[in-house]
Amino acid sequence: MINRLQTLGRWGLIRFERLGRGSLFLMQVLAGLPALLLRPRLALQQVYATGVLSLVIIIVSGLFVGMVLGLQGYNTLVDFGAEESLGVLVALSLVRELGPVIAALLFAGRAGSALTAEIGLMKATEQLSAMEMMAVDPLARVIAPRLLGGFIAMPLLAAMFSAVGVFGGYFVGVGLLGVDDGSFWSQMQSKVELQEDILNGVIKSVVFGFVVTWIAVFEGYDTVPTSEGISRATTRTVVNSSLAVLGLDFVLTALMFGDF
């Protein structure tokens, strides 16, 4: 019993210690951000690496998720004779929830794991030490642009996901199942609110993008510099950032839409 408690306590302490180190690390990286204003190219390269290269998976997934929504939504709504509302259902599900959350999960798997592995390998091959020896701060030169790049890319990817998803729903609902074209769009237009829905969705995706990228760069920087260490760190990035996204999604949803 005591042993279990000890193990639990140790586990808790280790978690807290990592959280503390992660926060200190974040502050040091943020201190390097202003210098990036002078060299925006470094961050843009990372927007390309994390964002543009994730586009394919985001678009394909968005399309299929939207098509499934169209199909399922139609089957439910048609029983109530409310299939004209299909556009609203698809758009709201995507903009409020599925867009930010699924895009963030895909982003963690596609870009987050790549970031961790890249930084971990740079550490293992002494590239980060070599930079320090050249009086170049790796936090400012390597980590800060990646953090900023992911932070910029993620909301754009989530928006892309939602937009493509709406077309997926349109394709199935209007194209295949015969929902009226005009009411699909006009209902969507009248029921989806800018502030309540779109803005909240954007806030979610900004928060998720920040957290996922932060976890990814921290895990990479904190890697035990061996091949086993890198593989563990990559796994931790995907697991921890997915859990963080889902947990935060509940918290944010409660704050935004909950009536307590």
Binding site: M122, E126, Q127, A130, E132, M133, M134, A135, V136
Partner: protein, 278 residues
């Protein structure tokens, strides 16, 4: 200081009473080293004695447990980040593994410190980089990616990068390993020439007794956490210390241990019963 008869009065690097440990294992147990200005000083010793660790201590990547490390009048372990980075701009280091940036090609690797620390126009950077690459014989390889180089080539590119900012001092970690006889000769010449022409201070870490003795002005031999001998190559070759003689002549038997500290060999083999700890 009577202990250092051959060393200039105002050394560039002055190490006193240095102690350092990795966990339980003591790597340095109170060592004193002077690196004179404008000379080539070699740090030699068996593999695993802590030569690389010593370079990391001198450059402030590691902090000692005790003792002082003074580089050009500045106490390295006590320096704040900004001051340490300022000092490092004047130090070059050739990593044992080369440590090139793998997402850049050879040219950009050598240009990296110039672009980070100077505002020079790209034309000038180009000329400087080509000069440095010419010096290591790899001007023609400038478009190769770092990952496309052999180990020896990568080391030469790293050398070109280390001298890109024309530092006051360069630390070479095993510059000779992995080089064929020709490039070995070129590197020996290059280290020598840098030293002569620019008055650079060089620290060479190596266990290649022959090459090192040929260019070093002064040699320290480390073993078991201590400086077991120091002097000019000629002094050491005729040293009557059995430790130094064993190392300089590469004898297997002698007081310098070849093995990492371990339990008695015969005992470990005899105790190999089922269930015994591995």
């Amino acid at each position: 200081m009577p202990d250092f008869p051959n060393v200039a009065n105002d050394p560039l690097v002055k190490i006193r009473g240095l102690r350092f440990a990795r966990g339980e294992r003591v790597i340095f147990d109170g060592i004193d080293i002077d690196i004179p200005r404008g000379k080539i000083t070699a740090i030699m010793g068996p593999s695993g004695t802590g030569k690389t660790t010593l370079l990391r201590l001198i450059s402030g990547q590691l902090r000692p447990l005790a003792g002082s490390i003074v580089v050009d009048g500045q106490p390295v372990p006590q320096l704040k980040r900004a001051a340490l980075y300022q000092l490092r701009k004047r130090m070059g280091m050739l990593f044992q593994s080369g440590a090139l940036l793998t997402d850049l090609d050879v040219f950009d690797n050598v240009a990296f410190p110039l672009r980070e620390h100077t505002q020079l126009p790209e034309m000038l950077i180009r000329d400087l980089v080509l000069m440095k690459l010419q010096a290591v014989g790899l001007r023609g390889a400038r478009h190769l990616m770092a990952s496309e180089l052999s180990g020896g080539m990568a080391r030469r590119v790293a050398l070109a990068r280390a001298i890109a900012l024309d530092p006051m001092m360069i630390m070479y970690d095993e510059p000779f390993t992995g080089q064929d006889p020709i490039s070995l000769g070129i590197i020996v010449q290059l280290i020598h020439a840098l030293n002569e022409a620019l008055g650079l201070t060089s620290i060479i870490v190596s266990h290649d007794v022959h090459e090192t003795a040929a260019i070093a002005d002064y040699i320290y031999v480390l073993s078991g956490g201590k400086v077991i001998g120091h002097g000019t190559p000629v002094d050491l070759a005729h040293s009557d210390s059995p430790w130094v003689r064993q190392f300089m002549q590469g004898l297997a038997d002698g007081p310098v241990p070849f093995h990492y500290p371990a339990a008695d060999y015969a005992e470990e083999l005899l105790n190999n019963q089922p269930g015994a700890a591995p």
